[in-house]
């Protein structure tokens, strides 16, 4: 019951699979395609660890079925550093102690990648509001907020030079 063919582009590469309709996008990414950078915390849309970009918009991959992304483009945390070179935001996380255990980090990075793309000059309030959908139990968010603001500044500097 409920098998379905689906074609999806993940981090620039096209995949075609036949999957159970009830397979969530998160489980599809992790178990079928081995993009295990997408982490699953709560599996009911509260913690934000599984956040990915679907056609450029952040979404909780535990609240989507893989079949819904037919003909869509998905970006996971692996897609942020395609050649193994950290993105500006990832480097800023490293430099500002934006992570400790790292479980929430993939979701944080995706959410903030979207924020910095849409709003290159966020203030602290903008960053904190963007992060309301992502839970972190280690850092107290201070390092994450600092990293986001630092990355925004670095990206603006790179755009100017």
């Amino acid at each position: 019951m409920g098998r379905q063919a689906t074609r999806v582009t993940v981090n620039g590469k096209a995949y075609a699979r036949v999957v159970d309709a009830r397979l969530t996008l998160a489980d599809f990414l992790r178990h079928e395609l081995n993009f295990t950078g997408t982490h699953l915390g709560c599996e009911h849309g509260v913690c934000g660890a599984c956040t990915v970009l679907v056609d450029g918009h952040s979404a909780r991959s535990c609240l989507m079925f893989a079949v819904q992304t037919n003909d869509c483009e998905v970006t996971t945390v692996e897609g942020l550093a395609p050649d193994g070179k950290l993105s500006v935001l990832q480097q800023a996380f490293m430099d500002n102690h934006g992570l400790q255990c790292g479980f929430c980090t993939p979701g944080m990075l995706i959410t903030l990648t979207e924020l910095l793309r849409d709003n290159p000059e966020p203030n602290e309030q903008d960053v904190r509001e963007a992060l309301t959908g992502n839970l972190c139990r280690c850092t107290g968010y201070a390092g994450i907020v600092r990293a986001a603001l630092d990355a925004a500044q670095r990206l603006r500097g790179a755009a100017e030079s």
């Binding site: 009830r22 009911h44 909780r60 309301t132 959908g133």
Partner: protein, 289 residues
């Protein structure tokens, strides 16, 4: 895999969707999925068929005509949040949207899904109550229009039949220059509101209130219009005292108690938030102090 197995259907047209809903037993409609999928993951909802409306372009979009705002049911909360038409004609909705969940959920969540789900603490049903919206509902029998007050029939319950689907929402536009106010209280930004209040005021150049709407949500099974407050304000000069008296009529409600808050606390919140919402609305409507 957490949800129980189901068959997935992705119609491309509304007609196809209603035909599927008419013939499939125990089918659920998938709109944005931000409430349905968690319920499926918990197996609170077990459906044999899921009809995904994501491919129905005809249910998307915002149009303005004849003093009415028409919003397709599959218009995402994100698109409403950034719509210039909504900001211009229904600024109350723009303000309310920022309180709905988080960016990631607003990117997926739809207005039709929010209405059909009918959570008592949800913002968009409250805005529909405030604006006396009409819900357009489609099935194989055609389209029928339901006034919001007849649509929301109880706790997470609507007048929708199992084979019906919300197609569009129509909101009468308030006159240009009207004032709006929206306040809610939640323990964290994006959480379900313990209580909230939405106010609309249309004030004449003589400072007389021509029209008032005060709506509470999160305090009862569905959004609640405070008739007493509206009656006190309408036709009267607008001043601080009138606003205080109107907000105080929120005292008349008998809110629900649950594990999140007592009814008494919700009643207190209803008054405080109504005062704030009415003050914002009065200021924006150009109240002459």
């Amino acid at each position: 895999m957490k949800p129980a197995p189901f068959d997935y259907h992705a119609p491309r047209q509304l007609k196809e969707a209603t035909e599927l809903l008419a013939k499939l037993p125990n089918a659920k409609i998938l709109a944005g999925g931000q409430s349905l999928v968690p319920m499926m993951n918990f197996r609170y909802v077990i459906a044999d068929h899921l009809v995904d409306l994501g491919g129905l372009q005809e249910l998307r979009g915002i149009t303005v005509a004849d003093d009415r705002l028409r919003i397709g049911a599959m218009t995402r909360q994100r698109d409403l949040e950034f719509s210039a038409d909504i900001a211009k004609h229904c600024p109350l909705m723009t303000e309310a949207l920022r309180h709905i969940g988080h960016r990631q959920t607003r990117n997926r969540g739809t207005i039709g899904g929010s209405l059909a789900h009918a959570d008592p603490a949800a913002e968009l049903p409250a805005i529909c109550a405030a604006h006396d919206a009409t819900i357009h509902v489609a099935s194989v029998r055609g389209v029928r229009e339901i006034r919001f007050r007849d649509f929301a029939t109880g706790f997470m319950t609507t007048a929708l039949q199992p084979d019906e689907v919300v197609a569009a929402v129509e909101l009468p536009i308030w006159p240009a220059g009207h004032g709006h106010g929206f306040h809610e209280f939640a323990r964290r930004h994006g959480d379900f509101a313990l209580a909230g209040s939405a106010a609309l005021l249309d004030v004449g150049p003589d400072n007389i209130v021509r029209k008032a709407a005060l709506t509470l949500f999160g305090v009862a099974a569905s959004p609640l219009r405070v008739d007493a407050a509206e009656a006190r304000l309408t036709g009267q000069p607008l001043d601080a005292n009138a606003i205080r008296t109107a907000a105080a009529s929120a005292w008349l409600i008998e809110p629900i108690s649950d594990i999140h808050a007592s009814g008494e606390y919700r009643r207190h919140l209803a008054q405080v938030l109504s005062l704030r919402a009415l003050n914002d609305a009065a200021r924006r409507a150009g109240m002459q102090a």
